[in-house]
């Protein structure tokens, strides 16, 4: 029983678990090839997963953030690379358009994030601005009715699959006292003139999830490309990241759950010194600690989701959930790998893949250090 989620929420997550169970035979190949199969993204559209957080009035499911977290946990337990693609598309990208888009933008853009033809992307990071996101250097200048954008956005998840990218660029000059001055969010179609993608990054893990650079060379977009208000883009980015962090927490939880389940199954089967290794206290205590951390992480994530669903402030809680869940995923994947011994180091047993995938969770959508900054700031603020 999960007292923290309702019956309907568990049923929706259960449906995604049933569906994702059939992905298993395809994962190793897709990870080797470094791409999510188009038919899998298509099926996620058909299943209504991609539009889960989009309001019913905009054609989505209108599901709660709690559902979003539980569904992402299921996807990540099956396939972390797929979960991160969905988290970005259906969390930060769809959420930003729902919150800040005009009626026309919502009608034009949201269907493309839910029909399974691709996955949306969010471009804030640059080569020289990561945690210090406000120091971004991409620029936007007016050109008649429209805009011309220049710059290079780095490490953009889903870039290769994206019909459009929410791209942050500065209008006017940076100000010393207000580093986020002029930062504006633009909807940049990936087929707009002057837009190109860099080669896909070769990553340690999450290899089927695409990570590419978005290159803007006099990229031309229309007047309708501005999301929200000119100069208010940094607030859009921060609000989007708050929700996105719940997604990454859920993804971390799914990874941790998957490896704990595998470690328990393996420890029951594997015999050493004449007995299944699950009888040894060293193994049992490791599993007990891992499961306790997992449950604590899930409680934190669902608390943040629950607050968000009720319109309460949740920035600190989302950062706590992301921080604790991602560090848990990292630790637990290594604990599980240790249970497998030498076999854990071999590709055949999958635990090594989850361990590599988990490594990214303390880095993206705000490093652990950024989460601690956010949490501390909220604690000591007058």
């Amino acid at each position: 029983m999960r007292p923290e989620a309702g019956q309907t929420e568990r049923e929706l997550a259960g449906a995604v678990r049933d569906w994702s169970a059939e992905l298993a035979p395809r994962i190793a190949d897709a990870e080797r090839q470094g791409a999510l199969p188009a038919d899998v993204i298509h099926d996620l559209g058909e299943l209504g997963v991609l539009g889960m957080g989009i309001p019913e009035s905009d054609g989505g499911l209108g599901a709660s953030t709690v559902v979003f977290a539980l569904v992402l946990e299921e996807l990540a337990a099956a396939w972390p690379s797929l979960a991160v693609g969905v988290s970005v598309n259906s969390g930060i990208v769809a959420g930003s358009i729902v919150r800040h888009g005009t009626r026309e933008q919502r009608a034009r853009l949201l269907p493309r994030l839910m029909d399974g033809s691709g996955l949306g992307a969010f471009a804030l990071t640059e080569a020289t601005s990561g945690s210090d996101a406000a120091s971004l250097r991409a620029t936007a200048h007016r050109d008649g009715d429209g805009w011309v954008l220049n710059g290079r956005k780095q490490f953009i998840t889903n870039a290769k699959y994206a019909p459009f990218v929410i791209t942050f660029a500065r209008v006017g000059a940076a100000e010393e006292q207000r580093p986020h001055a002029g930062v504006t969010a633009f909807i940049v179609p990936t087929d707009a003139p002057g837009v190109s993608l860099g080669p896909s990054e070769q990553k340690m893990g999450l290899r089927a999830s695409d990570t590419s650079a978005l290159v803007l060379e006099d990229a031309q977009v229309g007047a309708d490309a501005v999301l929200g208000e000119i100069g208010r883009g940094f607030g859009i980015a921060l609000a989007g990241l708050d929700g996105g962090r719940i997604g990454i927490a859920a993804q971390s939880i799914g990874i941790a759950r998957a490896v704990i389940e595998r470690a328990i199954a393996y420890a029951r089967e594997r015999r050493q010194f004449g007995t299944p290794i699950v009888e040894f206290e060293a193994i049992r205590f490791s599993l007990a600690r891992a499961r306790t951390d997992l449950d604590a992480a899930r409680m934190l994530a669902l608390r943040a989701a629950w607050l968000r669903d009720r319109g309460c402030p949740f920035t600190r809680e989302a950062s706590m959930a992301k921080l604790f869940a991602s560090e848990t995923a990292q630790r637990v994947t290594y604990q599980a790998l240790q249970v497998f011994g030498g076999y854990g180091y071999m590709r055949e047993y999958e635990v090594e893949r989850y361990a590599r995938d988990a490594r990214a969770t303390t880095l993206y959508e705000g490093t652990s250090e950024v989460q601690r900054m956010v949490i501390a700031r909220s604690l000591v603020a007058a």
Partner: protein, 262 residues
Amino acid sequence: MAASDVKFLVCLKQVPDSTVRVKVAADGKSIATDGITWSISPYDEYAIELALEHKDGDPSTTVSVVTVGPARSRDALRQALAMGCDDATLVIADDKAGGLDVAKAIAAIVKEAKPDLVLCGKQASDDDQGLVGPALAEALGWPHVGMLTKIAAAGDGVELWREIEGGHEVWSSTLAVVGLVHKSAKEPRYPSLPGIMKAKKKEIPEKDLAALGVTPGAPRAEVIAMEPPPQRGGGKILKADGDVKALAVELARLLHEEAKVL
């Protein structure tokens, strides 16, 4: 079959999920059902899929589902609605209701609902009796065609594909007809998330056998004992320590005479 507004009625049974490790109950003649997962019987799922594929091609199609069983069977109907069926009816009956009584109850539902086609899985995965479909056709005085894999409109009737040894046959039938489904072209679809939400909002009317004019008779055939298959013995290992040819001959002899697979 009419070009539009075709009405399907799919009969389904809720059975223990295929992943359940079945154990014999203390009474020695039924299975232990505590805490097990229940599902729609797999051939019935194919029947639902066949009907829904028709609906995909022609949205004016209506797909109704019915089951005769205990109250927990409501979950199976809910699952069928989530897959995309339009409406569902639950006929409450004892778990041990005989196939003939189930067929009579469904016949009463059919007379009310007047579907063009009634589809059943060819047999349920729990008792594998395969009785309800033919008994239903008999009770209605309708034709019945088994081993279906495909349905297509043809004039006023339907063409029905049947799987047979090494190929398939195409039959034609007038409407209405009872079809027993062997397989659908595609694997049964997963319920979509919006489908689950819509299914929750639908009322599932409940009827009982008496209201349908069915008085369950005393069983004329019943299960008196049930036992799991015998435990498998250890395998036989031949030592490869000499004449490989003689070893192969011995292996062939054992496969032929003992295992009887050659």
